[in-house]
Every structure is written in C-alpha cells, then in structure tokens.
C-alpha cells in the first residue's frame, strides 16, 4: 500500500507545475483587457482615464513581460503567497481558505448524504431485480439524475422555505441554512450511486463467490450487505474522489441560488472580474485537491476490494 501510494503521489509536483503554467496562461488567453476589466469593476467608467489605466496596470503587476509575471507568481506561490486579489486588494490565501472551508463542508455533507441514501437504495434494489423496490429506485434515480440544480434549488425553496417556512431560503451560517444546498447538491450523486450500486451488486450476487458463500449457509442479509455490497462499492468510491473535486469548485449554481460563499462562487466572480490571482490560486488548489482525492479514493478502493489489492501486487 505505501508503495502504491508513493507511486501515485510521485508525479504530483510535475502535474502541479504543468497546471500552474496552464492556470496562469489560460485566463490571459481570453483576449480580454484585464486592466480595463478590473478598472470597470472598481469604478464602472466606460471611458477610464488612460493614466489611471496605466497606474492600475502597474499596481497589478501587469506591466512586465508575461514570462516575468509567471516566474514572480510561481516564486511567490511556492512560498505559499498567492498574491493580492485584483478586486479586493487583500491577500488571496485567506479568501481561498474561507471559501474552500465552506465548499468542503457543503460537498462532503452532500456526498455523505448521497452515499447514505444512494448506496442502501441500490443494494436493496439489487436484491430482487425487476421487483417493485428495484423499479421504484430505478425510476427515482433516473429522475434524480435528470433534474438540474437550477430547477431543484428553487423548487426546494418554494416547498421548504415559502410554503412550509421551516428552513431559510438563502444564506450561510448554522445547520438549518445548509440543509437545502446540501440536499440540492446531493441529488445527482445519490442517483448515480444508487444506479451504480444496484448494477454492481446485482453482478456480484450472480458470481460463484456468492454462490459458494450461500452454500456455506450464510444468511441472505449477510451475503447482501457484507459480501456483495462491499465489493460493489468500488466504483462508487472511485467516482466519489472525482465528484468531490468537481463539486468543490463546480457547485456555482447552488452557491449563487442559496447565496453560499463557497469556492465555486468565488471563482465564478473572479473569472468575470478577471481577478487573475484568485482564478490562478483557486484553480491550482482545485487541481491539487483533485489529484489528492483521486489517490485517496484509490486507497479506499484497495481497502474495500481484495481483487484490486491482488491486481496491484
């Protein structure tokens, strides 16, 4: 296991170096005039004074050649300093940490909820393929995967904040405010987890390994929930790593509709405002997390699946 982990983590510095060049260059390839965009976000003047534009360009460090800007940024980033936001003129790192904290809580809660609902539903459905439970789970999971967040979010607000005033409609702070965003975000992974678990469990239940266990006199419940379900979780755990990284920075719709100060909203606003230090820092953080969570998911997969462990050896 440590050897496998080491092999997976070895290319990380190289991946991050490549990612740093990409996240630095991509926003600059948009063709937009960053100085003018920043000026417009500070003072919405359609005809800014050229002298002011020059001063702002100097203040933002955009007046030097591109390679010099990159090396300066990379050097600072290696020291843990991602610079100052072009918009707020305050340090990027605390902004990212705060937003990442919110998004991590939101995403982890959503994936946990998705797992708690989707996996048992999938396993139960696999017990009798074609039965009423299977049909219900399949229908609900297809529906869950099909309803987009921008429809589900206001629907949930209408029901649970307006018609039944049980939860706040928007905002962040306290467990009550987190319920609707978490449920909205959890629906799609829950539906996917149910479908995957159902398919995998049904496959595992048909294997010789299960038939042998059944012949040894193991109870159906134990067969289903310990032997079959455990092995069928491998694809769900593999996906959860990617989901985690994707949802961290990609839950923009949920964060905008519920006014949640997460990473997705921070990056979305930063892209629109050409706030390059925030965009660069945020993307770099996301790439790092994506790599680490994928490796983490593989580790969990190894722990759950003896076949995968043998294959790795």
């Amino acid at each position: 296991m440590p050897g496998t982990l080491g092999r997976r983590l070895l290319p990380l510095p190289l991946v991050l170096l490549g990612a740093s060049a990409l996240v630095f260059l991509l926003p600059r390839a948009s063709g937009l005039d960053t100085t003018r965009t920043v000026l417009r976000s500070r003072i919405a003047d359609s005809a800014p004074d050229p002298a002011a534009a020059e001063r702002v360009s100097r203040e933002l460090g955009l007046d030097g050649p591109l390679w010099q800007q990159y090396l300066l940024w990379l050097g600072s980033a290696l020291r843990g300093d991602l610079g100052l936001s072009f918009s707020t003129r305050t340090a990027v790192v605390p902004q990212l940490v705060a937003a990442l904290g919110v998004s991590t809580l939101l995403t982890a809660s959503a994936l946990l909820l998705a797992g708690l609902v989707g996996i048992p539903a999938g396993v139960t459905a696999a017990r009798r393929p074609g039965g009423p439970v299977d049909r219900a789970v399949t229908t609900l999971s297809v529906l869950g995967a099909a309803v987009p967040e921008f429809i589900l979010a206001p629907l949930l607000v209408l029901v649970f904040a307006v018609a039944l005033p049980l939860l706040p409609a928007a905002g962040w702070g306290g467990p009550a405010a987190a319920v609707l965003p978490v449920v909205t975000l959890a629906l799609f992974p829950a539906a996917l987890a149910a479908q995957l678990t159902r398919a995998e469990t049904a496959d595992v239940l048909g294997t010789l390994h299960i038939a042998a266990a059944r012949a040894r006199g193991l109870s159906e419940r134990r067969l289903l929930w310990v032997h079959a379900a455990r092995r069928s979780l491998t694809s769900v755990t593999a996906l959860s790593g990617m989901f985690f990284a994707g949802l961290l920075g990609g839950s923009v719709v949920v964060e905008v509709v519920f006014a949640v100060p997460g990473l997705g909203r921070l990056l979305y606003d930063a892209v629109l405002a050409q706030d390059l230090p925030v965009v660069q820092g945020g993307l770099l953080a996301l790439v790092t997390i994506a790599v680490l969570t994928t490796v983490g998911a593989e580790v969990v997969q190894f722990a759950l699946d003896p076949l995968a462990r043998r294959a790795a050896r």
């Binding site: 937009l32 976000s41 003072i43 904040a161």
Partner: protein, 511 residues
C-alpha cells in the same frame, strides 16, 4: 454568440418566476405603527466587488446603508446640500473652502476634524483609479482651522457636487491604518455603524447613538447580498428579508396583489439606447438615422417587449433626473421611415442590411434587440443580430467598427451632473463617443458648462443638449430602466432614484 441559449435561459427564468409566484403567500407580519428598536433585514442585488473599498463603486453600498457620509449631500432635485460640511465657498477659481459640521463623531469615537477629512480626501485622490467624480481633477486638500481647503488643477464650478459622490466618503483616520483598502467596520459617521462586513454574504449594522443627525428608527439593519433575482424574490416570499430590491417582473406582478406587501417602482438614470455608428455608411447619413428612429416603437418596447419593466424614452435623460425629457414619446411611423430610406437611396432594389450588436450581460438587451429587429424589418431594414460579451465587443465599438448596437448605460452613476457623460459620449473628441456623433453646436453648448456654477442653469443646459441629440438622432434612446422594490412589515422605506440612500432615520419595523 447564438441567441438561442439566451432564449432558453429566459424560458427557464420565466418558468422559475412562475414557480415563485404560483406558491402560497409567505408569512406576513401584522401591519401597524412603527415599532422602536426593531431589526430590518434587506436583500440587496449587488454584492461589493472590491472588498468595500470606499474609493470604488462599493461605496454605494456603504452610503445606501447609512454607514458613511460625504462632505456634501444632495436633495431630490440633485442639488448640493449640507452634509459633513455645513457650507462652502469658492475662495479662488481653483480653491473651495468647506466648513466642517461641528460635533460630528466617527463610529470609533474620534471626532471629525479637518485633519481627518484631509487624510481621507488625500487617500481617495491618491489611489491608482480615483472615483469617477474626482478623476482628473488633481484634487489636493489642506486643513484651515475648522475647515478644509480643497484645490483642483483647473477651475471647477461643481466641486461641491463632486464631493457628494459616495466614493469621496470620509472615514476615521483609523480606517486608513492597514495595508489594504480602508476598513469600513466602525469607521464611518452615518446613523448606523457597521459591526460586521462580509463581501460574500452581507453587512450587519447597529444604530449609532452618537450620530449628529436624527436618530435611526431601527436598532439594527442586516443587509444580505442576494445576486440571483429568483433567490431574492424567494427570500422575500419566505420572510427571510423585509425589504428586497431588484425584483424580476413576474414576482413584481404577484407581489403587487399580495396583502401587506408594498411594491415601489422608481426610474433610474440608466437608459438602453440604439447606438448608430455615424462615422460610416449607412448611418453617416442623418436620413437613415432618422428612418431608424421612426421605425422603432419605443412605447411598444417598454410596455410589451419588456412587459412594463421600463419606461419609453423620449430623450437620453429620463424621469430619474430633474432635467429629463417629459415630452411625448415619438410615435413609430414605418411608412415615413421607408420614405426617408428611399430618399437616402435604399429600397427594394437596394435593400439596407446592417449588423445589430448587443450583449447578454443585461438580460433585457437581447429582448430589446429582437424587438428592434422586427420593427426595423417593418421599415425595410434587415438587421442581423449578433449577441456577444460586452468586454469583447468594446474595442470594436470604440474603434467605430460596428453598425448599430443596443447598449445600456447608467448616465449619472455617482455625480448628479451630466457634463461628464455629455462630454465623453457625445462631443467630437469624446472618449466614449460610440455614436461617432460630431456637432460643433453641441460641443459649444457643453463647453459653456465650464463657466456655469449654478446648478439650475447647468440643468437647463443638460436639457437643451439632450434635445439637440434627439434632433440630430445621435443614437435612439429606447427605454429608461426602472428599479422595483418590495417591503413588508416596515415603514419609511423610500427608494432612491440615484441609488445612494436606502436606510434613513424614518426606516422602522411595524408591528
């Protein structure tokens, strides 16, 4: 960019708005008289983009919430009134003396002194991009007893008005102690003191009992930033906020008929216009520009295309300002438009085809462009719509490489004086003259403002300038935007067309 995605988004938004309005009414507090020491929650549509930096447009949030003040205030007629300064005189052509209001205390307990004001003005004048109102003025300040002398590089007849802009608000010296933008927590002079400021979520304010003016009617205000229109409407329906700004049109229609909810509509100085590039054919010919103006039915655009969420424009300035056009809106006359086009050499044998640009950053613009396209077709003009991103289009616009464009512009963002926008947008050498309009008569009229300090006389010039633009068809003003707000369980909320003030001493909860 293809317009289809915008249409689908509009359909989705309309569907969501229907969902918003189809549900049962939210909880409504009992109507009644003002309750002292209440808490009012406000849902704002725009979050600060620059970390509450007072030298940026974020200053509007601070003045709206009654946390900060400027040396000069403005009244409903957009004329200067005493603020933190009680009086002012022009002691020299380039120097004004502002006498400070005695007995004013900052929220941190320190007194408002001439040195504090000088420090604040020097900071804002010295940032890389000073606020529009004082940009280019080369403003300097020095203390003079209980007054402040403010100097400009050139004689400035409207310096008091410039110092009414939110970006020139005065904060306590402690605000400027750090490295970043000045801190706004507990450093203002307004009737409410900021206790928490989070640019992503909102601001919490409490009544400042040491305020020099009338005491606030609320104990505290919680302002929440809710940028999504549907989410704002839902938060109001759910009772999460007592006051909400910038409602989507379907929600307005529903809330207007909801008991205990007061919906108010106020015109803004924002105008959506059809810009016509007069530097090249076909719009170099004034007959073609007039034909376009005649082909467009501005009343139908406001009342039908925008479903009443705008007012038809008769001139570039509308009812949001005292000098705005009050005359009848020009009626559409496609037949007369076709005649003018024929005189200019266009007709069935030589059809006129133009490119009509707009951008989707403001959702009403593609709708307006589509309606304008249909109206132009009625006069024999084929307009090919191209929807893009404004930031990407701007270089082409400034270079005059376009035919016509539907564009929305806030004409008086922070300074209640139109000299700046008339100069930049319509004079021959104007830096934002998208219409490429050039009239010596117009330039002379605007140039005369340099020696005109009287606000009433200046407003008269602004009105004449707008009439001249209309006569020369320097673009076609289409609609003036309106802002809509809704309140429930509060009294004393009056929307401000200038978008500077939301919270006043009259605002209170009712019970």
């Amino acid at each position: 960019m293809h317009p289809a995605p915008t249409r689908s988004r509009a359909v989705v938004l309309a569907l969501l708005a229907c969902l918003v309005t189809a549900c049962g009414a939210g909880t409504a507090p009992q109507a009644g008289v003002a309750v002292p020491d209440g808490v009012v929650t406000i849902g704002l549509q725009f979050a600060p983009r620059s970390g509450f930096a007072v030298d940026t447009d974020d200053a509007f949030v601070l003045t709206q919430l009654g946390a900060v003040e400027t040396l000069v205030a403005v009244d409903g007629e957009r004329r200067p009134q005493p603020g933190l300064a009680t009086e002012w005189t022009q002691v020299e052509p380039t120097t004004w003396r502002f006498t400070l209001r005695p007995g004013v205390t900052f929220h941190d307990g320190t007194p408002l002194t001439a040195d504090a004001v000088v420090g604040a003005l020097r900071y804002v004048a010295g940032v890389a991009a000073p606020p529009r109102a004082i940009a280019g003025a080369a403003l300097t300040a020095e203390a003079d007893g209980d007054a402040v002398l403010v100097r400009t590089a050139a004689p400035d007849p409207i310096l008091p008005l410039r110092l009414s802009a939110p970006g020139t608000a005065i904060l306590a010296p402690s605000a400027y102690a750090g490295d970043g933008p000045p801190s706004v927590v507990g450093t203002g002079t307004g009737l409410l003191r900021i206790t928490e400021a989070d640019a992503a979520q909102g601001v919490t304010l409490e009544r400042f009992d040491g305020y020099w003016g009338e005491r606030a009617g609320v104990a505290s205000v919680v302002a929440r930033f809710l940028p999504d229109p549907t989410a704002r409407a839902l938060a109001f329906r759910a009772g999460d906020v007592d006051v909400v700004l910038g409602l989507p049109e379907p929600a307005v229609l529903e809330l207007q008929s909801t008991p205990d909810v007061e919906v108010q509509t106020v015109p803004t100085p924002r105008t959506a216009s059809l810009y016509l590039n007069a530097s090249a054919p076909p719009f170099a010919d004034v007959r073609v520009r007039r034909a376009v103006a005649l082909a467009v039915d501005r009343t139908a655009l406001a009342e039908q295309a925008l479903a009443g969420s705008g007012l038809p424009a008769s001139e570039v300035f509308g009812p949001a300002v005292p000098w705005g056009g009050t005359g009848p809106v020009p009626a559409a006359d496609p037949a007369a438009a076709a005649d003018l086009l024929a005189q200019a050499g266009y007709g069935p044998d030589n059809p006129l085809t133009v490119r009509l640009w707009t951008y989707a950053n403001r959702p009403e613009l593609p709708t307006l462009a589509t309606a304008v396209q249909a109206m132009l077709a009625g006069a024999g003009i084929t307009a090919e719509i191209r929807i893009g991103e404004y930031a990407a289009q701007e270089p082409e616009l400034l270079a005059g490489r376009y035919d016509m464009m539907v564009l929305s512009r806030n004409l008086l963002t922070d300074l209640p004086d139109a000299a700046g926008v008339l100069t930049s947008d319509y004079t021959c050498s104007g830096s934002y003259n998208l219409n490429r309009y050039c009239s010596p008569e117009f330039d002379a009229l605007v140039a005369g403002l340099v020696d005109l300090p009287d606000p009433a006389a200046r407003q008269d010039v602004f009105a004449r300038a707008a009439q001249l633009l209309e006569a020369d068809t320097a673009g076609v003003p289409l609609v003036h935007t309106v802002d809509t707000s809704a309140t429930r369980g509060v009294t004393g909320f009056v929307p401000d067309p200038a978008n500077r003030v939301l919270v006043t001493s009259e605002l209170a909860r009712t019970g």
